[in-house]
Amino acid sequence: MNLEVTQEKALELSDVHVTIRGSHILQGVNFGIEPGVVTGLLGRNGVGKSTTLRSIVGLVPRVGSIKLFGKEISNLKAHEVIRSGVSFVPEDREIFSTLTVLENLKLAERDKQPNYDIVYNLFPELLKRKNQRAGTLSGGQQQMVAIARALLNNSNLLLVDEPTKGLAPRLVTEVADALEVAAKSATILLVEQNLPLVKRIAKNIIVMDQGVVVHSGSPMDLENADFAQRMLGVSGGSH
């Protein structure tokens, strides 16, 4: 008799399909992520990682089951998904360039008492520049705004899409620190090409290829150069 206890998943996708303008991008995605840890979602460019995050949020039309802590959310609209305790940091930041830093943050407020202390402790630069138009910030500072918007509220699940893309090494460390702080109170699904970062903060990894999940495992798998080359098209090992 199998007495194995299955822990409730923080997020569970079953047979999720996304078709955009005739292109079948997600072709039956299945995975679950553990609560309270960082899970890295990896894969080559164009395999559907960002679309997976956007389908969870509801920003693209999707078919299939998406459960957040056991509750079906695939029938919810995007703003309802977010209000059920999800925060989303999109690829390319998507900050509002004509608004000030503070206005960007105010817009993201959901909780009655937003965590401005945490945000300004992590990113003191944002406090200094709170009245500056976000469009005039550097790429790194804009990424801080994008992450800060997500950290402002207490979320059950944080979806983060390539937060270190195009950032200088010093800023990558800063972003990693911020994600580690966030990971103390939320489950994180992280799309990231920066393998050292994934190894540093992720407990599990999921690898996608051509719109489906092809591997689930540990970041230790990335130490295997052959695995990294085959799955991600990069040299793995000791990055």
């Binding site: 977010i82 209000r83 998507e94 509002f96 608004l99 993201a108």
Partner: protein, 293 residues
């Protein structure tokens, strides 16, 4: 010189009316990508509301009655706009061709309904006699009503500015004009902002309709249509989604039309279209519009 001053202020007054129609169009397009060809019908509804109120409800010709009629016209325009959004447009977001067809159709239906109810002949709206007074500026004499149009448009512009700058709904609208999807991804039901924008756009158009009855000495079934075409030109010149740009463009279009029509008779409309072409060639995003990437 006195003729120029009179014409210039008349042009600014006409521009003020264009602004009242165009401000809503600009915000609606900027936020929702909806080209609303029924916007002129909101103006006409406001104009008929003014006629009805000042003819049957309070026909005393007082400034108070006129002021109340402006408010009622605004509300009628706003309700018409909200009904349009709730009954038709909200099912057609992101379906631009369908939106255009439906709003063009609604414009035709509304004009036919007005014609059926009120007849083809323009109905005369008599504004308070005080508005027939003139103000002397240098050697020029300018009708007081021109300053009323400019004053009302200035109040609407200021109210828009304050709303957009200092309220949460204004923040949502400004962000939504830039990136609607990301506003939703922050947990905000952006469709409530859509309805609100239709409300304020319809209110401004209704207000414009009430004032247009004074400018045009009455209201007919197609009053809104005649303003709508210039309002669209104004929106394109000013930049989609930019209320200050719309204000500048409205003054430019109004003064150009009036001045050119006087000095080179009949060419006012042609020069306005030339102005539109020039702006599209030199600055396709409009005077204060954002470059679309």
């Amino acid at each position: 010189m006195e003729i120029f001053i009179t014409l210039f202020i008349t042009g600014v007054g006409l521009g003020a009316l264009y602004f009242l129609v165009a401000a809503g169009l600009s915000l609606i397009y900027g936020l929702m990508d909806v080209l609303n060809f029924a916007h002129g019908a909101f103006l006409t509804a406001g104009a008929y509301a003014t006629w009805y109120f000042t003819t049957y409800v309070r026909a005393d010709g007082s400034l108070t009655s006129y002021a109340i009629s402006l408010l009622i016209a605004g509300l009628v325009g706003a309700l018409f706009a909200v009904a349009t959004e709730q009954i038709l447009i909200k099912y057609l977001y992101n379906r631009h061709i369908d939106q255009a067809l439906v709003t063009v159709g609604l414009g035709f239906v509304a004009a036919s309904a007005y014609l059926g109810w009120f007849g083809t002949d323009p109905l005369v709206v008599l504004p308070p006699v005080d508005l027939y007074n003139v103000v002397q500026i240098g050697d020029a004499f300018v009708g007081l009503d021109r300053f009323l149009y400019i004053g009302v448009a200035a109040i609407v512009l200021l109210a828009n500015f304050l709303m957009l700058r200092y309220t949460r709904i204004g923040l949502i609208i400004r962000a939504g004009v830039e990136n609607r999807n990301m506003v939703t991804a922050l947990g905000i039901d952006v469709r409530k902002a859509f309805t609100f924008v239709f409300f304020i756009g319809g209110f401004a158009a209704g207000l414009g309709g009430a004032l247009a009855t004074t400018y045009a000495s009455g209201v007919g079934p197609t009053l809104g249509d005649s303003f709508l075409i210039y309002a669209f030109i104004t929106v394109v010149i000013g930049g989609m989604g930019s209320v200050p740009g719309t204000a500048i463009a409205a003054v430019l279009v109004g003064t150009t039309q009036v001045l050119v029509n006087y000095y080179v008779q009949g060419l006012g409309d042609f020069v306005v279209v030339l102005l539109l072409a020039l702006v599209l060639l030199v600055r396709p995003q409009g005077l204060l519009g954002k470059v679309v990437r």
